[in-house]
């Protein structure tokens, strides 16, 4: 065997290690920013030559050059704030509108549903964690301009574009531009949101939308901070604002055993909705299934959902649904006057729609909602 000196041995080890370190670390080096596909953001302010503050959502991230916000998709570059996900679509599906769930908005129609990477929350039960907790460059994306997106909606014969899956407002600029194009083409735009936006941003965007579904995750600051990484108060404000701006609003509460199923909280939630919105605002209690970081919590007992629904109905809310429980009678819409079923659903498909010009066929009561284009 050829003898090797200690020095030679150590040198060869060092070179090997260098090669391995470079080879393994390179994928984790921050990507060079290529500004061409990025769009200067709205809702930010300059602090100094190197620092900006993003004012889109209550996180109010203070960013220096090269750093990104908590949402992972807004970055400070050369003393300005840019959106990294303008037009960058990572998920693209055609979903029944009931899947959002929007039950009182164009039932039986499809929605062209798009999403990008990132989110301003970090919910432990996020169904779309692969989108929401990813950096934009980690996902395969396609670049679709607002005009192209609206064109594709028309080609697919979907009267609705839904910005959904992860928190859409982090793609604020793109939604804002798309809505303008969509309106001209008679396409509705909806967002499926966590409601975590600063007031000036929501005041600017909400009136342009046709419908909003807000996740009312819990009537508990503790839940929002420990489980979602956010705060309750801005969400409450935006729920109220959406109603004031006459945007069609539906609310969803994903009921998670022992975390947010406290009857007192449910009651308080229902009272808030009745007081700050109105009693006809649809509220969906949906069943939790083990997912993401909460795989050891069992699915919500159906009796818990039924109890939540009873509480909400007792507080005066008229349209309270149970979701993620296909075949349950509370999937259906009942006239709030005569109590008869006017829309029947199987899963997230509408099987029967008996409304006549948005009215109950039995007692002629107007059922609140947007039933036709």
């Amino acid at each position: 065997m050829r003898s090797v000196t200690r020095k030679q041995f150590l040198h060869s080890c060092l070179y090997s290690m260098q090669a391995l370190v470079v080879g393994s670390v390179i994928p984790f080096l921050p990507e060079d920013v290529i500004a061409s596909n990025y769009r200067q953001a709205l809702h930010w302010k300059k602090i100094d030559a190197q620092t900006v503050q993003c004012n889109l959502c209550p996180n109010q991230c203070m960013l220096t050059n090269g750093t990104r916000g908590l949402c992972k998709v807004r970055q400070c570059m050369d003393g300005k704030l840019y959106s990294l996900v303008y037009g960058r679509i990572a998920a693209y599906h055609i979903d029944p509108i009931e899947k959002k769930p929007l039950y009182h908005f164009l039932p039986g129609n499809d929605a062209l549903s798009v999403a990008t990477a990132g989110c301003n929350f970090s919910c432990k039960f996020c169904q779309n964690w692969q989108l929401s907790q990813s950096q934009p460059e980690e996902l395969d994306s396609q670049y679709i301009t607002p005009v192209q997106l609206v064109k594709q909606a028309k080609e697919h014969k979907t009267p609705v574009i839904a910005f959904t899956y992860n928190e859409p407002s982090i793609q604020y600029e793109y939604i804002y531009d798309t809505v303008q194009v969509a309106k001209k083409n008679n396409i509705s735009c909806v967002i499926i949101s966590n409601g975590y936006l600063n007031k000036h941003a929501s005041e600017m965007l909400y009136p342009l939308l046709n419908a909003i579904k807000i996740d009312f995750k819990a009537y508990s600051q503790k839940f929002y901070s420990e489980i979602c990484g956010g705060n309750l108060s801005p969400v409450l404000s935006n729920i109220e604002l959406a109603k004031k701006k006459n945007v069609w609003l539906e609310l969803v509460n994903l009921v998670i055993p022992t975390l947010n199923d406290n009857p007192d909280d449910i009651r308080a939630m229902a009272r808030f909705i009745k007081t700050h919105c109105d009693s006809t605002t649809p509220l969906h209690f949906t069943r939790f299934y083990p997912i993401y970081k909460l795989k050891n919590i069992p699915p919500t007992p159906v009796s818990t959902l039924e109890r939540c629904r009873e509480i909400a109905l007792a507080e005066g809310l008229k349209y309270v649904y149970i979701g993620n429980v296909p075949g349950h009678s509370a999937n259906n819409t009942y006239c709030h006057n005569c109590g008869k079923p006017v829309i029947e659903r199987s899963g997230f498909y509408t099987t029967t729609n008996k409304l006549k010009s948005g009215k109950c066929p039995y007692c002629n009561t107007a059922i609140p909602g947007i039933w036709t284009l």
Binding site: S24, D95, L259, P298, P326, S329
Partner: protein, 729 residues
């Protein structure tokens, strides 16, 4: 009795005891840590790495401290079971202090927990070996290395057998460690001279004897508190079965069943299994007089199918768990027609291999493939077994974890591996898309165009003789629901993703399992996840350990480098082979839980045989390596032919060979034997540490069971090394 003889007896007993204590401690800690870490093989890798790091560190340090002979030995044998007991209590208390509803601890937290629980006791095990060798040498015992190695191995073998066949059924882990402490007290009492120390030992024995009586109560209390800290609902009962640690919790008006802290099922499960009912009915089945095999924890499915007149064979491995499920079924469905249900207590794959029965439908609802044991229900070999038991127009239905809207590369490869494997066996199959993917495989040619299939189902169901019964049993039932799982854009997305992936999940190359594990790690958002899932960084870690080891050996002389290198490689091979053996065992037979100690015991028996073989004058070095290679080949054959004898013999052969090297080299040493013992023990466990690191994170994910070929090649390299170099020493 003269003092010399008395001291020798003490040494033999202490050495034997340390083997027993270390072996039982290892079995207990692996089981308990697996329970807390939700029981996957990465956890085994972490545990083994830390185990050997501790032993290696203890052995390395041992040289520097002067052995004060018997008092030092006495202190260590008292310390060892004490540390195990403390580690167990700390482990049980961890969830109380680290409260999280997260599915699993981040990898960093797992590492810290494992370090705290394992390192102290492993350190003692490593530290004492050179001390014992030196003590034997001073008492002029011939071949001290062989004697110590042999006795320790025999002790470990005895401990493993006793644990597997006796202790595990009778005594809880806390009680076991306390009994070991009492035995250590008795042994120490014989050599401790000072009166006050003797008194202290007696008092400790009395206190511990009382504690043993209450150990079950203490364990129950701690486990209840820790369960409550991290799980919703109320803990109703827990059982330590031979297969797992089972918890039953009441959540609202439902019952949640956990095995090794993993959520298995919730009852009632009416809504969870509706898609399976759709899946079977959509094939045209009328249920009455149908033979159905079901594997998976469900109550409603049994109820509906049995009520509709089907005959159900249910396979479950754990009779204790089934007893609880059955009670729940009866309480929810008092009119359950139990005459239609036959229960077989067996692993599903073993059952299919042993039965000749044929079924109209085989329904598999496996737990997620987060361990190799569960992954075997997702492989092409398993699907073939299912197909063999179908009638000519039979169907096989499985469900797997799917995706919500997009898939990351790990999830994509996992899903692809299972679906490709399924399609290979069932070319005529229907695959849904969504959060849960349902696969329906037909044992005959059938139109599987989705829209035609669903239209036919909608059309035929109303006219079916079973429709009325189903609508009564399943509230709100409508075939329309089934459309939800075949949403066009989701299916198109899935098809496009699968186009680029040709990966298959097989027993020999369980690719699906490792991709699923990587996806689980990604969910944990752990920084350590980046390292674990990056094989280059793991190899870098290996190189660092190798360099550090060589540096350490070099400081002791050329002989230490050469001897240390040989032992390092043999330690690597034996550990890698042992991990592969454990995984191969699970792959073939399923539950390993109560057999871990048996496999370890056989390994220790092999070490004992190996060390006994060094009483001869000649070293037969090359012969020993050929025996090692034979063992590796037999292990590889086991993965193909599934004969357990091959596995057990291969473990013994591999252990015998690697176990003989240390005594062999020690017996050549005439001066400063403790120094060499320290080097060799450290080298052995450093090599084993590297084996534990590289095998689950690099070798198995890339090469599966073919990793054994790499180990065989390493064996031949040892022969070359021996021929080139060793003869000069």
């Amino acid at each position: 009795m003269d003092t010399m003889k008395y001291n020798r007896i003490f040494l033999y007993i202490s050495t034997f005891f340390i083997g027993v204590s270390a072996s039982i401690a290892q079995a207990i800690m692996i089981r308990e840590l697996l329970m807390f870490f939700r029981g996957n093989e990465l956890s085994i890798g972490i545990i083994m790495v830390l185990w050997f790091a501790g032993i290696s560190a203890g052995a390395a340090i041992s040289k520097k401290i002067q052995a004060h002979q018997f008092s030092s030995i006495a202190h260590n044998i008292l310390l060892h079971p004490s540390l195990v007991c403390i580690s167990l209590i700390l482990l049980y208390c961890t969830p109380i202090f680290y409260h999280t509803y997260d599915s699993f601890y981040p990898l960093e937290v797992e590492l810290i927990i494992a370090v705290v629980c394992l390192l102290p006791q492993c350190f003692i095990t490593g530290y004492i070996f050179p001390v014992l060798v030196n003590a034997c040498s001073r008492l002029t015992i011939n071949n001290p290395g062989t004697v110590v190695f042999l006795l320790e191995s025999l002790g470990a073998f005895t401990g493993g057998i006793a644990f597997t066949f006796l202790i595990i059924q009778k005594i809880n882990p806390l009680g076991t460690t306390l009994i070991l402490f009492i035995i250590a007290c008795i042994i120490s009492f014989t050599v401790v001279q000072q009166r006050i120390k003797r008194l202290a030992i007696v008092i400790a024995m009395v206190i511990v004897a009382f504690a043993i009586a209450y150990s079950s109560y203490v364990e129950k209390k701690l486990l209840s508190l820790s369960f409550a800290a991290n799980h919703p609902g109320t803990l109703l009962e827990y059982r330590r079965t031979p297969y797992q640690m089972m918890f039953v919790a009441g959540v609202g008006d439902t019952i949640a069943l956990y095995g090794n802290n993993n959520l298995y099922a919730q009852f009632p499960d009416d809504y969870q299994v509706r898609p399976i009912i759709h899946a079977l009915l959509s094939t045209g089945s009328v249920l009455k007089d149908t033979d159905i095999l079901i594997s998976g924890d469900t109550a409603f499915l049994h109820y509906v199918f049995a009520y509709a007149g089907a005959s159900i064979d249910h396979v479950t491995v754990d009779p204790v768990m089934w007893n609880i499920v059955q009670q729940k079924i009866i309480s929810i469905y008092p009119d359950f027609p139990s005459q239609f249900l036959n229960v077989y207590y067996d692993d599903t794959r073993n059952y299919l291999k042993s039965t000749g029965k044929i079924y109209n439908a085989v329904i598999i609802l496996p737990p997620p493939p987060d361990s190799i044991m569960h992954n075997r229900l997702y492989t092409v070999e398993f699907f073939k077994d299912c197909k063999l038991h179908l009638t000519h127009n039979g169907v096989c239905i499985i469900q797997i974890e799917g995706f919500a809207n997009i898939m990351n590369p790990f999830l994509r490869r996992y899903v692809a591996s299972v679906i490709n494997s399924f399609r290979q066996v069932f070319p005529s199959s229907l695959i849904s898309a969504g959060d849960t993917i349902y696969c329906i495989g037909f044992n005959y040619n059938r139109d599987t165009d989705t829209s035609n299939y669903l239209s036919q189902y909608l059309k035929n169901f109303s006219a079916s003789p079973i429709s009325k019964t189903i609508r009564i049993l399943v509230p709100g039932f409508s075939p329309q629901e089934f459309k939800m799982y075949f949403q066009e854009s989701q299916q198109e997305y899935l098809a496009k993703q699968l186009q680029s992936e040709h990966i298959i999940n097989s027993d020999l190359l369980p690719k699906g399992y490792f991709e699923y594990l990587a996806n689980s790690l990604k969910q944990s958002s752990s920084e350590a996840e980046r390292i674990i899932t990056n094989p280059l960084l793991m190899i870098l870690l290996l190189i660092i350990i190798v360099i550090l080891s060589l540096w350490y050996f070099n400081s002791r002389g050329t002989q230490h480098i050469i001897f240390g290198s040989i032992i390092f490689v043999s330690g690597f091979i034996s550990m890698a082979a042992m991990i592969i053996a454990l995984i191969a065992y699970q792959n073939v037979f399923g539950v390993l839980y109560y057999k871990i100690a048996l496999c370890n015991a056989l390994f220790m028996l092999g070490l004992a045989i190996g060390s006994a073989s060094t009483f001869t004058q000649k070293d037969f070095f090359i012969t020993r390596i050929m025996v090692l290679i034979t063992g590796l080949v037999m292990l590889f054959c086991f993965t193909i032919y599934n004969n357990p004898t091959l596995l057990y013999v291969s473990i013994i052969l591999i252990a015998a060979t690697t176990g003989s090297f240390i005594p062999l080299l020690l017996n050549r040493q005439t001066n400063d034997i403790q120094l060499l013992a320290s080097t060799l023990d450290a080298a052995d466990h450093s090599g084993a540490l590297c084996g534990a690191l590289i095998t689950p994170f690099v070798l198995l994910p890339f090469f599966g069971m073919y990793s054994l070929v790499i180990l065989i090649v390493m064996g031949f390299i040892l022969i070359v090394f021996r021929l080139q170099n060793y003869s000069h020493i």
